[in-house]
Symmetry: C2
Subunit: 329 residues, 2 copies
């Protein structure tokens, strides 16, 4: 993969979105959102997706693209917004920021969002919260992607959840995980590379356990993470988000649009205690006990630093297509 | 297992705890807490544990048993308490109630608790919130029980988490799950029955994947649920709870005492929408898609109704021991 200066990548993508009528500062924020995912090593939700977003704009999948989420109900530290199918990335950004503002006033803040679209990499919200010193939790429902444990028809989403705890010098603790054992993107990467999965990832068409990503993606079904556990958690995250947002639950969704999400921020500094030092302590204790294990967020920080030093990794075919789009003028 | 009238069981256990000097209404609430777990079919955290609690009282593991948690910091909808090693059950009960009271005032409420002990069945808090119409989330850290993914020495807790969404006529959505693929109690049940685990549950002493519960419990290590996913989530839940509570993180714990917990309650009615009807809709959609699958909470409700009709299931040996303790006078 070639390395591209981050600013060059962001400028190019901004230009493409602005040509579709998106207000330029918003176009730039969307470009930065996807660039951040790639900068952090999450290519499946980064540069690889910016052309999909272009297609969604052209096909009208993304609507009201210049509109912020609309407040529809509020009570104290809890607010509900409608995303009106605008950019999932900008809606999520807005709601996490709003949750942090509520946490400043109330110690913690909760924002529920409905009718929002693909948000790309969920982890962006967690990293954003951690960088500003907040503990954050956010999650989304999705369209049905897996059978609930014990069934065979797809009925539950992979409903990604993010938890973030702020540390020192960028060493934050962040998990960003879908309820499936493997993300769609990871299955797809293994299929492309021909590498089998390290642990079985689902069932084939005949209902047998398999580690073949092609079988799972094309004819079979994904396992929930931890089997019955991820299945149960997925049901709860879906109902929780749909109810708090008064939005769609998974059963009402056929694609990743008009989904429901929750954003929680906590301002631990309001209660006292040296948060960043405590986080460092947790990381140090893990490293001492398990020198071979990485703490959650460690790989992201390494990728982020590599990007800062060397530029953004963008797949050849994606970069070629982006340059071709740019040249159309 | 014999069936015992719930009131008879509660009276007996109340008597035993009161004899150890516990104020009688508090002794009764602890007895009811453990009875509730058994009533709901969670025997491993119910009647099977009441004699352990008696031992902890006698050995001074539980301290300040007549004391409620002490408020140590507060800001708006977020509060921090010290549990002073009193009953984990009563401390958790207190904090979930406090989170609900904060949610009444602020839409949502967050309570962090430190220095609390074994809380028995975490799910009790979720069911309590759901029965009162709140959405609830709570979790705990524990002493290290599993290696972080990629390591071999125990460094992460099984940190149970509960999510609850209120439904109609007792049909609430509730998950109550530890970060290990199997709970200690379930491994122990399989060991007792000689039944192998349905999916591998950990590593044996030589580091090989195994479904033998005895091997896992005695010489090996448990898998986190979903392997790397449960590992990452366990680290975040630990750090989150320890920081919000300004309490111990897993690395500082050698037993399940003086642990850190978080309790969140949401009052969705404050934002409008028919919560219980939405929950019923989610349950109905799951049943329609996967007639063979149970919704999270379904088995508990069935056990609860069976207990109400037939009395509490208590293991023979436990009931015999309880009667013997009672006879000591």
């Amino acid at each position: 993969m070639p390395r591209v200066p981050v600013e060059r990548f962001v400028d190019l993508v901004t230009t493409l979105y602005a040509r579709e009528g998106v207000e330029v500062t918003r176009a730039r924020r969307v470009a930065e959102w996807y660039a951040q995912a790639s900068a952090d090593g999450v290519h499946s939700h980064g540069a690889n997706r910016v052309l999909n977003v272009l297609t969604w704009l052209r096909e009208g999948e993304i609507r009201n693209h210049d509109r912020d989420p609309e407040l529809v109900a509020a009570f104290g530290a809890l607010e509900r917004y409608d995303g009106h199918r605008s950019f999932g990335a900008l809606n999520a950004d807005f709601c996490m920021d709003r949750a942090m503002a509520l946490a400043d006033r109330h110690g913690l803040g909760g924002v529920a969002l409905r009718n929002t679209g693909h948000w790309g990499r969920p982890g962006n919200c967690g990293w954003r919260a951690a960088e500003r010193g907040y503990l954050g939790i956010c999650w989304s429902n999705t369209e049905p992607m897996m059978p609930a444990w014990g069934g065979t028809r797809k009925s539950i989403g992979n409903n990604p959840i993010v938890l973030a705890v702020p540390g020192e010098d960028g060493a934050h603790l962040v998990v960003d995980l879908a309820m499936s054992q493997y993300s769609w993107g990871r299955l797809d990467s293994h299929r492309a590379s021909g590498e089998p999965l390290p642990v079985p990832g689902g069932l084939d068409a005949a209902g047998n356990v398999t580690s073949d990503p092609d079988e799972i993606l094309e004819r079979g079904t994904m396992f929930p993470m931890g089997f019955w556990k991820g299945s149960g958690l997925a049901v709860l995250l879906d109902a929780f988000a749909a109810i708090l947002a008064d939005g769609n639950d998974s059963a009402k969704l056929t694609d990743g649009l008009e989904i429901s999400q929750v954003f929680l921020a906590f301002a631990p500094g309001k209660l006292g205690g040296d948060v960043a030092a405590r986080t460092r302590g947790v990381i140090e204790a893990l490293a001492a006990a398990n020198p071979g294990a990485r703490y959650p967020g460690q790989a992201v920080l390494a990728a982020r630093r590599e990007t800062a030093a060397q530029g953004l990794l963008v797949r050849d075919d994606i970069w070629t297509k982006l340059l071709a789009e740019e040249a159309k003028g």
